[in-house]
């Protein structure tokens, strides 16, 4: 059992605040992804959990034990680094065996675990090589095998795929998901790649400016962003936002059209680009750029002077300069508070 509880963890580097009082619970065997742009504090949070960084305030609990005063070796964790950190002076075998030898396991057990994890990561033919003789992808496999061989309660991964080329990343992503699910460890995975986050995570914690903005299931994060930032960060292309003006009996004026909206003083209208279809009545969009992508067409347009993007079926020909009317799917419309930037339920 390795539930991770983070209570009010904050971190200052001099005058710069990297983390503002973060609270987060990661369940046993959960795959949690920390997602955010660079500088949002996601790596700092991971390093605090690993014990490579000390929090300025707050507590870290792993498996019911408070660990924030313990060194990394006493926390029952294993970590995979962005640049792999495979020891160059040791063979692949000795790299994977490194932690096991530190734990003083008997030789037979070391060999058994190294062989098993090497087979799992498909590197059994590389065991005698040195890291200088390996490709980036192979080094990545060694780094993951080294972490898995420890049979830790928690595996921490710091952008493990970001140094791989696109094709390899796709392959490793699927493989990692399978291997980690089978290993039944709790995983915390840091990335800035939203596709990676969506495809791997049980839950995603979206981070911005040292705060966790939303921690929820990938589809929830996508469909019901808790804040304007989440909508504008997740999704490619991201959510569209339009200013709205309150009208009569709960109706809102958006770009000359009326929509049913929440009963508040001020709100901003938001819709995902794929949640619209061309119709007789709807938002009038002046088309600027048309990008046919095969299954659908990406249209960049202007609505009421605001940039606006739509992903449409590719069966209809659209040309720049044309004015099309787009009808948003009513239950996909979201509203945000322009003051607090938070979602209005």
């Amino acid at each position: 059992m390795a539930e991770i509880v983070i209570k009010g963890v904050a971190k200052q580097f001099g005058a710069f605040t990297a983390l503002h009082s973060v609270d987060l619970t990661i369940h046993d065997q959960e795959f949690m992804v920390l997602l955010g742009a660079s500088g949002c504090g996601k790596t700092t949070l991971l390093r605090i959990i690993a014990g490579l960084e000390t929090p300025s305030q707050g507590e870290v609990w792993i498996g019911g034990r408070r660990v924030d005063h313990l060194p990394p070796r006493a926390r029952g964790i294993a970590m995979v680094f962005q640049n792999y950190a495979v020891f160059p002076h040791l063979t692949v075998f000795e790299n994977i065996a490194f932690g096991l030898r530190m734990a003083k396991l008997p030789q037979a057990e070391v060999t058994r675990r190294v062989t098993r994890t090497a087979e799992l990561m498909h590197i059994e033919q590389l065991l005698k090589r040195y890291s200088g003789e390996l490709s980036g992808g192979q080094r990545q496999r060694v780094a993951v095998a080294r972490a898995l061989a420890m049979e830790p309660d928690v595996i921490l991964m710091d952008e493990p795929l970001s140094n791989l080329d696109a094709l390899l990343r796709l392959e490793m992503r699927a493989e990692l998901k399978g291997v980690l699910a089978a290993s039944k460890t709790t995983t915390i995975y840091v990335t800035h790649d939203q596709v990676e986050a969506m495809s791997l995570a049980d839950r995603i914690s979206v981070m911005n400016g040292g705060f966790i903005v939303q921690a929820d299931k990938p589809t929830q994060v996508y469909r019901n962003p808790a804040a304007r930032f989440v909508g504008s960060f997740i999704g490619n292309p991201p959510m569209n936002f339009l200013p709205a003006k309150r009208g009569e009996n709960g109706r809102w004026h958006v770009a000359g059209k009326d929509f049913d909206g929440p009963d508040v003083a001020a709100a901003e209208f938001a819709i995902r680009p794929e949640d619209m279809h061309p119709a007789k009545a709807g938002l009038e969009a002046e088309v600027r750029v048309v990008e046919p992508l095969g299954p659908h067409t990406l249209v960049t347009a202007q609505v009421a002077g605001q940039p606006f993007r739509a992903v449409l079926e590719s069966d209809r020909a659209i040309s720049p300069g044309e004015v099309i009317t787009l009808a948003p799917i009513p239950d996909r419309i979201r509203w945000f508070d322009p003051e607090t930037q938070e979602a209005i339920a």
Binding site: L52, N83, F98, R146
Partner: protein, 284 residues
Amino acid sequence: MTAEASDVPVAATPQVAVNRAGRFLFWAGIGLLVLWVLVPIWFLFVNALSAPAEVTGFPKRFWPSFDLASVQFFWNFQGVTAALWNSVKVAVLTMILAIGMGAPAGYALSRFDFPGKEFFRVLVIMTRAFPLPLLALPLAVMFIRTGLDDTVLGLALVHAMLALPFAVLITFSLFSGIPVELEEAAWTLGCTRLQAFTKVVLPLALPGIMASAVFAFVISWNEVFAAAVLTIENRTLTAFLLQSLNVSPLPLKFAGGAALVLPALIFIFAVRKYLFAMWGIANR
């Protein structure tokens, strides 16, 4: 020159001439530098390995006659072997002291942020800014008071101070070249800070540390001023040769010179790759 646009060869010729002159200067410069270094060394070895009579002869032969009379004379000269042994003892002790203090300082500089770090780096270099003659007299007085005068340890301490800046800077650049993540990975895999250092950092840095140790050895081996001032009975080879310079015969000087230069040359050649590390040139 000419208004005709088709007149390309005329325009190109001065360009070729400039290129050729440039290349000539380049190679002439290289030739000059090589001669600057190699001629004295050649001169030293030709004279050391020739018969005593040939030393004053002219013209010189390019290859020495490999007559070992000069070397033999030098070797049997009263006090030479003792001085040579002293040199080795001082140099080894210097090496141990300089690395023992310099490597931890280099590690601290590369891994930790502490107040006054930049100032400390400047200070390390500044130790070389004080002329040794200025320090020699007070040092000699102090050494006599503490009983360190005329001892191997006393001289090695002074030599270690001379070698320390290089030891600190070379090891600093060495440790900086080893990614911190390797150490962090070792910590997460069950190592204490010390274990991570001995199991991961040290094996990777060892060749470079050896190189900077050899460099400290050579600094001590070649140093003459402090050795001449601070020792009387226990002279090192450099001090011994300096003392007997005006009374010893020419073949002895050449043989002694060669005996001094040879180990230094071999050592520096062996570790040349790591000395570049001092200037931050990557060689991994």
